[in-house]
């Protein structure tokens, strides 16, 4: 009977280790503080009506970015914990806090590793990009909304549910997957990982992956179907192009992740034998499948950043982008090629020299379109009137680091070399160089660049540049030692090592570097706070603070919720730049007046639906069957109820548009 109600849950699953108590405490205290502040300012209704239930992509975009920022702190904390452990765990010195080495016991250390990787990939980088795309893509193509506003809200709330779910182990269970960010079997099978950690891992990826998939479908349809009249595909801004490429990759690869991790869970839950080491299962099948998703995933994370940098370089060089067509072609080439290289992640599988050679060569080939992009950016800057603003600084940092890390990648793509360096810290350094320089710097640059568009004032330049330098210095300090350590033979995920290896000084330098990165992140937070304080000095009255090229700058800042008062007409690339050349100014009453605007209504259904999905997942992790069924049927009921609702839109009358436009441009 007790098992019926509580499944596998027992009292001992409640927090009792220092980190679960700490984590749970942080969640509870944080929650209470937030709730108290909202109650004090009487903002509950406002929060619910204006934000949580909103289907406005700009609001959803901001919520994505807020959530991703929180998760950046969360994942960063993991990083710091990992580095401190590695800095102090050389030799046989007795550990602290009950650990044999350092201050984390081996299993806990591995769990932190898993959590760090997954949080950074799924909840930080993906979250930021979905946020920025929500903010900017509809504006760049002259649309008012995405093709499916409800699915957009649902995608966001599934992302939130996934993010909460990955932290649930703090509160119930006390254990996360100790099997690495991709949880390879047979280690992740029930036989070797009997706890609920891997189940939490599977379900947080299932939930958030579903959200990403919905987002992917939505953006593809939006970009292909909702462009303004006159904007042909080859006139789209490059950020829109790369978003399209990235979303095509999402739609083509996320189903593979979903089904592969689900099969792993079938092994664990139903006692199936897909990837077990006995009963005819095949663990290498999992490794192949997960990397068929995994390699495209790394390009999902960088291609949108390429687009962001293309916009920034063109704007701050005062020129049109050099080689637009080749930019588009190379982005498409990268998209396609990224499906043909997955095997480079496990040359050591033993597929034979021919297979390894094929994948090695394909991997090398991918560097060519990437290099084409880099040459085009540099050519754009050539003879431009360059303004070294913060986004531009991030771009310079990106180009240098990315080239460096890319060459390390090309080195790894030689199977013979990879046999030596596989799963060493050299590999870890490679992919951190790539992801930090492209994805993270791209995100920071993009946020700085588009901040005035969304909030109506620019970010503080001086502090922004300081943060950039801290990032660069911190990055070099923490990752150059890893390249060296990799050559010295240090493998990834070491919770301790012999003192005689002589590695400790490198680990200490790396840990110092991480502290500098932490300072950089704090500086960025400080930058936002100071900028909000000084917003009056930095107000953007023109809607176009950087002399931009693309349509998003043709609206007032902050962008009104209906985006464009009058849908613009486009007949070429860099539409807004051309408008400015023709002497057209936005914000002036058009001769034929404004039109009524149809917009989508708010809805709380996405929240309820994600809540039920969350409950279902929780029930499945803990084998609480009634809860799982409740969640599943609740979610189905939500879908059905929503399908009966045909009253999902409202009309904003032309007179009201006129009033709002006057207000927006009066400043």
């Amino acid at each position: 009977m007790e098992h019926f109600f509580l499944g596998d849950l027992t009292w001992s699953d409640l927090p009792h280790q220092w980190f679960t108590i700490g984590g749970t405490g942080a969640i509870i205290v944080g929650g209470i503080i937030v709730a108290a502040v909202i109650t004090y300012f009487k903002r509950w209704t406002w929060l619910w009506k204006e934000w949580l239930t909103s289907t406005d992509p700009k609001k959803i975009g901001i919520m994505y970015i807020v959530m991703a920022s929180l998760m950046l702190f969360r994942g960063g904390l993991d990083a710091i914990m990992i580095w401190i452990q590695q800095a102090i765990s050389a030799g046989n010195a007795p550990g602290y806090l009950g650990a044999a080495h350092g201050y984390l016991d081996a299993s806990h250390f591995q769990q932190i590793f898993t959590a760090h990787g997954d949080i950074m990939v799924f909840f930080v980088t993906m979250g930021f990009f979905f946020g920025i795309m929500n903010l900017i893509v509809p504006l760049q193509i002259g649309a008012r909304d995405l093709a499916f506003p409800f699915l957009n809200s649902l995608g966001f709330w599934l992302y939130v549910a996934g993010a909460v779910f990955i932290n649930m182990f703090f509160v119930v269970g006390g254990e996360f997957a100790a099997s690495g960010w991709l949880s390879l079997p047979p280690l992740s099978e029930i036989q070797f990982s009997p706890g609920t950690g891997v189940d939490y891992w599977v379900w947080s990826l299932q939930i958030s992956g579903l959200g990403s998939l919905l987002g992917g479908i939505n953006f593809i349809v939006t970009i292909l179907k909702m462009r303004v009249k006159g904007m042909k595909l080859m006139m789209m801004p490059l950020f829109t192009w790369t978003s399209l490429c990235s979303m095509v990759l999402v739609v083509a690869s996320f189903p593979v992740l979903t089904i592969t991790t689900l099969l792993l869970w079938f092994d664990r839950f139903f006692g199936m034998h897909f990837f077990t080491s006995g009963f005819g299962g095949n663990p290498m099948l999992y490794v192949n499948l997960i990397w068929m998703w995994g390699h495209p995933e790394v390009y999902i994370l960088v291609i949108p950043a390429f687009g962001i940098f293309s916009e920034i370089v063109a704007t701050f060089s005062g020129k049109k982008i050099f080689g637009y067509v080749s930019m588009v072609c190379s982005a498409i080439a990268i998209t396609l090629l990224s499906f043909l290289v997955w095997l480079h992640h496990f040359f050591t599988m033993g597929a034979g020299a021919d297979v390894d050679a094929f994948f090695g060569i394909m991997t090398g080939i991918i560097a060519i379109p990437t290099a084409a992009q880099i040459f085009n950016w540099i050519a754009t800057m050539f003879r431009g009137r360059i303004r070294f603003t913060t986004p531009m600084m991030y771009f310079m940092g990106f180009v240098s680091l990315f080239t460096f890390g890319g060459m390390a990648g090309v080195l790894l793509s030689i199977p013979g070399a990879d046999f030596e360096l596989h799963n060493s810290l050299f590999l870890v350094a490679h992919f951190h160089t790539m992801i930090v320089s492209a994805a993270l710097f791209g995100i920071f640059a993009g946020i700085t660049y588009w901040f005035p568009k969304v909030f109506g004032f620019t970010l503080n330049e001086k502090i922004g540049r300081r943060a950039f330098w801290l990032w660069i210095v911190g990055f070099f300090m923490s990752f150059v030692p890893l390249y060296i350590l990799g050559f010295l033979g240090a493998t990834r995920r070491l919770d301790h090592y012999a003192a005689s290896t002589g590695w400790q000084p490198f680990f200490i330098i790396a840990a110092t570097g991480v502290c500098i990165i932490a300072a950089a992140v704090i500086t960025q937070a400080w930058q936002v706070i100071v900028s909000i304080r000084d917003r009056r000095q930095n107000t953007d009255t023109t809607g176009d603070p950087w002399d931009g090229h693309t349509l998003e700058w043709a609206t007032a800042s902050p962008v009104p919720f209906y985006n464009f008062a009058k849908t613009p007409v486009v007949d070429g690339r860099d539409a807004f730049w051309e408008m400015k050349k023709r002497g057209e100014r936005p914000g002036i009453l058009p001769p034929d007046g404004y039109d009524d605007i149809t917009l989508s209504k708010n809805t709380g259904m996405a929240i309820y639906l994600s809540g039920f999905v969350f409950l279902a997942a929780f029930g499945l992790v803990w084998h609480i069957i009634w809860l799982a069924l409740l969640g599943i049927f609740g979610a189905i009921a939500c879908v059905i109820i929503r399908s009966f609702d045909e009253d999902t839109e409202y009309v904003l009358p032309a007179a009201e548009v006129e009033r709002l436009e006057k207000l927006a441009w009066k400043k």
Partner: protein
């Protein structure tokens, strides 16, 4: 009116993209089945288990349901509500028959100890065929909702567009089944 047409067009396109993702899911399941089908681990093989008549009857039932689904689309296009509902009910009955036959097959296998826990081959068999069956079950639920909406609202643009998407979904499942029939059942009995 033009707006509504445009919107239905967008919805249909979005649904196509969704179907692409489903194709990829089935594609992975087929690939997994192909890799694991020989791994019977001393347990029953496909030759021991499958029977051609059952699979053939299943196929015929599902093909017929695709036919009735097509007739439903035609009726909807002509604006005949009652006929549309009648064909939806026929499709439902055939789909339910298919599902019952499939579950019957599953329980026969389990009764002789050939469950999904027996071997990697059986895990992949149950998962591939079961995933298709689950889709059919979702389709059945969809039919019920569609019938209710037809009764309440008639053939409004919104309802018609949903029916179009349902028909896409159902034909898609039919195609997937043809693949299952050939690669799992026919090839398994060679």
């Amino acid at each position: 009116m033009e707006k509504i047409m445009e919107k239905n067009d967008t919805h249909a396109f979005g649904f196509w993209v969704y179907l692409m993702t489903d194709i990829i899911i089935f594609g992975v399941l087929f690939a997994v089945y192909m890799v694991l089908r020989a791994n019977t681990f001393g347990g029953p093989t496909s030759n021991d288990l499958f029977s051609l008549p059952t699979a053939l009857v299943n196929t015929l039932v599902l093909l017929t349901s695709s036919f009735t689904c097509g007739l439903m689309t035609l009726a909807a296009r002509k604006g005949k509500v009652n006929q549309t509902i009648a064909w939806l009910i026929a499709t439902f009955a055939l789909g339910a028959t298919f599902l019952a036959l499939e579950l019957g097959e599953f329980s026969r296998f389990i009764a002789i100890g050939a469950s999904w826990q027996r071997s990697a081959f059986l895990s992949s068999f149950f998962t591939l065929v079961g995933t298709h069956g689950l889709h059919i079950a979702v389709g059945l639920l969809w039919i019920i909702v569609a019938i209710v909406q037809l009764k309440l609202r008639g053939l409004t643009p919104g309802v018609t567009s949903k029916l179009t998407r349902f028909a896409l979904f159902w034909h898609f499942l039919d195609i997937v089944w043809i693949f299952i029939f050939t690669t799992v059942y026919l090839m398994g009995m060679l």
